[in-house]
């Protein structure tokens, strides 16, 4: 069980929230101009890193607002939560964290 700090309501039990996967996915601005592989990558391909993961949560049983969480998927430790539009904070989660993974997916600028 995680304790998650909603940027608006404060720290609550995980059961109040719903999880919505990788954050900062950018919809291709001109869908008609991308090919099937790029569209497929946008819809389905995910980093799924073993390390730091920026992800979306929603305070489903609270204020019902969306926000982002920076969490280490190796031990589930939450490093930060931040509002949509804000930049993720820099954190040091030790070596080999997921954000150092190569970024080679044109559909997923970070």
């Amino acid at each position: 069980m995680l304790l998650i700090k909603c940027p608006w309501c404060g720290t609550r039990d995980m059961s109040e929230f719903s999880y919505h996967g990788e954050a900062h996915l950018l919809r291709p601005p001109a869908p008609a101009e991308v090919d099937d592989a790029q569209w497929g990558a946008y819809l389905f391909a995910r980093k799924n890193p073993k390390g730091l993961h920026r992800e979306r949560w929603m305070h489903a049983h609270g204020c019902r607002r969306w926000f982002n969480v920076l969490r280490d998927t190796r031990d589930d430790r939450i490093y930060a939560t931040y509002r949509p539009g804000d930049s993720p904070p820099d954190v040091d989660a030790g070596d080999d964290n997921g954000e150092n993974n190569g970024d080679n997916n044109p559909g997923n600028p970070t």
């Binding site: 069980m1 099937d36 592989a37 073993k50 589930d76 993974n101 190569g102």
Partner: protein, 417 residues
Amino acid sequence: MNKPNRYSVFSLARHALNYHQDWARAWRNAQPKREYEAVIVGGGGHGLATAYYLARECGVRDVAVLEKGWLGGGNTGRNTTIVRSNYLWDESAALYDHAVKLWEGLSAELNYNVMFSQRGLLHLAHNVHDMQEIGRRGCAIYANGIDSELLTPAQVKTMVPFINLDGRQPVLGALLQRRGGTARHDAVAWGYARAADALGVDIIQNCEVTGFGIDANRVTGVQTNRGFIGARKVGCVVAGHCSVLADMAGFRLPIESTPLQALVSEPLKPVLDCVVMSGTVHAYISQSDKGELVIGAGSDAYNSYSQRGGFDSIEHALCAVLELYPIFSRLKMLRQWAGIVDVTVDRSPLITATPVRNLFFNCGWGTGGFKATPGSGHVFAHCIARGEMHPLAAPFSIERFNRGALIDEGAAAAVAH
């Protein structure tokens, strides 16, 4: 080539005379060679089965299986051992029933008792939607030549006399697959390992892959914590860590990894002689031959590689179990654990070539890979040996995510969606 003892009642009697002191190792403690025809990354059931069928049926015997921990220590040793093939779509039915047919002869083929027990598997329906779903799926399964029966609540009660049919989510019916059941998960890994080793496959434990050798977009081998191992072909069968390996090779997969928990009770005398699963209240339960009730919980909501999971998942599963089976209310739970499952959005696996030539991935089995172990290894071996997809595996290529040809098995995977 290794010549292990052939297991039989006669060899058992012969070794008994010597107090069982001189059994040969089931497989050699192989040291990695500099190069192999094929390297399989991942020494779970699927990887070992792949190596076995490569050697047995494809004539590729210069094979190594690299396992970062110990054999079957990942999801092969962490699942609830259920085997079934009651999937909706033709592609899935063909693949999973291929596996069930291999299960049916597996102990004899491997000369190793995998304790495959076709004790029957019930999938409960609790509401109108469930009844429509099992009705549709049951007919589709039957049309695909797979056994499938719709049961009334009274028939369910006959099979499981202590079930509570009138809970908050009443039991309105069930789908029964009599050929479904359970198998001993560790024995599957050990049996395949022993049989593959006897055919010349090197099984190398404590050997973790840390990168790939790639030259001109063609795989040349794997970098490991025991040095570089050359390979003409590489097959990755690592379940929850497939995205990590894909990242090393420079591409992404349509997969997210989450913890999936299971737990077992203290041992009981025989009480439940079939497998009962319910997607709606999310409770799977069966009784092992040791007498423990084996209970599967739902997967945790979030991506994670911590083989741990949250208590809320367990509580949810046990609430459902107690609603259906009040007689278990005073039972103590002995152990709880989690495996990291590699989930695709359509709950169907990936058996696929990749952007790197001669590098193949078999993953995405998600919450239900154990049942497919023999079939998965069998078709994947053909893919690796021939460099083209086996007909049963072709629909499960990664290309389906670009074409929109998803194989949506959310319901058959007993996942509410």
